[in-house]
Symmetry: C2
Subunit: 311 residues, 2 copies
DNA sequence: CGATCTTACGGGATTCGTAAACATA
DNA sequence: TATGTTTACGAATCCCGTAAGATCG
């Protein structure tokens, strides 16, 4: 009588859904309507399921209906598992549809403070239910976080060719000179890097690529790199410059921030100090749908951005 | 690009099994072999699943393999739910195959003590992994337990036509007279019911169908039913008879038990006191596969059993 | 006799495997 | 270039819906 081969692999979710529908409504006809199936189709689905299992789940005649003890014990289990399936699958669908999800990203402070807000604003307008955790850390830490997977994507300067990292360039950021109001260099539209030697330089304290880049570039121009003052935060540097304690070099990204702190920015002649800014991600580790969408927005918003100094 | 209609109902267990296999083995080829599918078939299964969900679960090229974040988060869930399904389905299959299960049955004491053991022995020989709980209670309680579902099947006298109960007759049990050794009636091969009036009668104390049946039958034969002694247990009655304190009437089922207690049994002339013994179950409540099997064995073992008194 | 489930059967969609094309390290 | 995945396509299977049949109360 039984099909012979009992194999749980052959059992279909549809069959179990059919069983649960029948068990719930206690009627084939009603259940068939509920799951959008003709009565005979449902009948066969149940029969096939029973044959595969090797016994009856329901005892039905034209006028009476009952679950067998086996059906009775399977019913709540089936119901629970179907619910869990649906929950898992719907959740997955929602992630792909960007209706839920979570992004962890890292960005260097200059970007995080000055450009990220507008990108995140657009992103959250389009996908209000995706949570975003933004880590604003120095460029080196951005790289580290992406490399170790603590951040899915990161924004930093180009870390160069890396076996395990992928860099998507956004734009080139030129460094600008930060001056106090009334500084002798203020009248110039552009500042020659050679002119910097005369003034006290204020730089970032921590060892960083930015600091290295400045040091290297100055040395390439026969200037000594001997910072008069050092600080950790851009804000501090801006304030010190504004107070007339010296001049500084910062990414053009920070120019508005510097102005707000009371300093003045001037571009370097020939853009002699510049660095590629872009999005970092892990090679061979695909992005989540949400991060992918954010990446799109970042590219769309900032690709080929002009970062020239201006008042 | 996506299929358009996201519907968890369309997702197949087979597809999820395919995904889990690929995620586990990190290779389409190996996974295909594991689940007995050709590589292309598996490829399509994954693709269909991804299309239905609306996004990628795996990122694969010919040389690299990785789960997407969505796939990564779905993998353990899918694995767990598949395991739970298999467990539930295998358990169900085992019940139908009588490799596991549990029966609760009730039987009146005369049957439970005298005939049930051999039936259960056969049953457990055939199905050693099915647990059996036997309630030996008086016939009325058997009926009550079956009626309320506390026992799936019961063995008792025919309770008569009942709306909610089904009675499967096994055999007819004739009552026998129980005498002490050396009693004046001992020489007779059969005892006329009229002869009983001269002796003290020992009966069951509790109100029961058996007691009622005896009372009614005696009265129909113009005899008074006034038990000299009453007891609760058959054993007690047997002992009292053996001691010469009176005679008794018990189902022929108990005859061996009575003999062992030192009493003697004689049939009643014309089998004037008899009752149908059979299996009780609930109408409209199908039996479990296990109970069904036990019912088969009961019928096979005891149908049309001869219960005549003999030494 | 009426309501309800099951069987019969033809059409359509799905799924499979083989073979060829394709893509990446 | 070699390995592993995807596309192409014909064949087999499965699944569904309509219509007729069976069954129990």
């Amino acid at each position: 009588m039984p099909n012979g081969s009992f194999n749980p692999n052959n059992i279909t979710l549809k069959q179990v859904r059919a069983f649960v529908a029948v068990a719930r409504s206690r009627s084939f006809a009603e259940a068939a309507a509920q799951i959008h199936l003709s009565q005979p189709a449902l009948s066969i689905a149940i029969k096939t399921l029973e044959d595969t299992l090797g016994g009856k789940l329901l005892s039905r005649t034209t006028r009476t209906f009952a679950l067998t003890p086996e059906g009775e014990s399977f019913y709540p289990t089936a119901q629970r598992l179907l619910l869990e399936w649906d929950h898992a699958l719907v959740d997955l669908g929602n992630r792909f549809a960007l209706k839920t999800g979570r992004i962890t990203l890292a960005a260097m402070p200059s970007f995080a403070a000055n450009l990220m807000p507008q990108a995140l604003f657009r992103f959250r307008q389009q996908h209000p239910n995706i949570r975003v955790a933004l880590h604003d850390v120095i460029a080196e830490e951005v790289v580290r976080m992406v490399r170790t997977g603590r951040a899915e994507i990161g924004i930093s300067f180009d870390p160069g060719q890396q076996e395990d990292l992928l860099f998507t360039p956004l734009f080139e950021d030129a460094f600008v000179v930060v001056l106090p109001v009334g500084h002798p260099l203020e009248p110039k539209a552009e500042v020659d890097i050679q002119a910097l030697g005369e003034w006290d330089l204020i730089t970032l304290q921590a060892p960083s690529q930015v600091r290295e880049l400045i040091a290297t570039t100055l040395q390439q121009n026969q200037l000594r790199f001997s910072p008069a003052l050092e600080a950790h935060q851009l804000v501090t540097i801006g304030r010190m410059v504004a107070k007339g304690m010296g001049i500084s070099l910062v990414p053009a990204l920070c120019q508005q921030q510097m102005c707000e702190l009371g300093a003045i920015c001037r571009p370097l002649k020939n853009n002699v100090l510049r660095r590629q800014v872009g999005v970092l991600s892990r090679r061979r580790y695909p992005l989540s749908a949400a991060s992918d969408a954010l990446l799109d927005i970042l590219v769309e918003t900032f690709a080929d951005l002009e970062t020239q100094a201006s008042d």
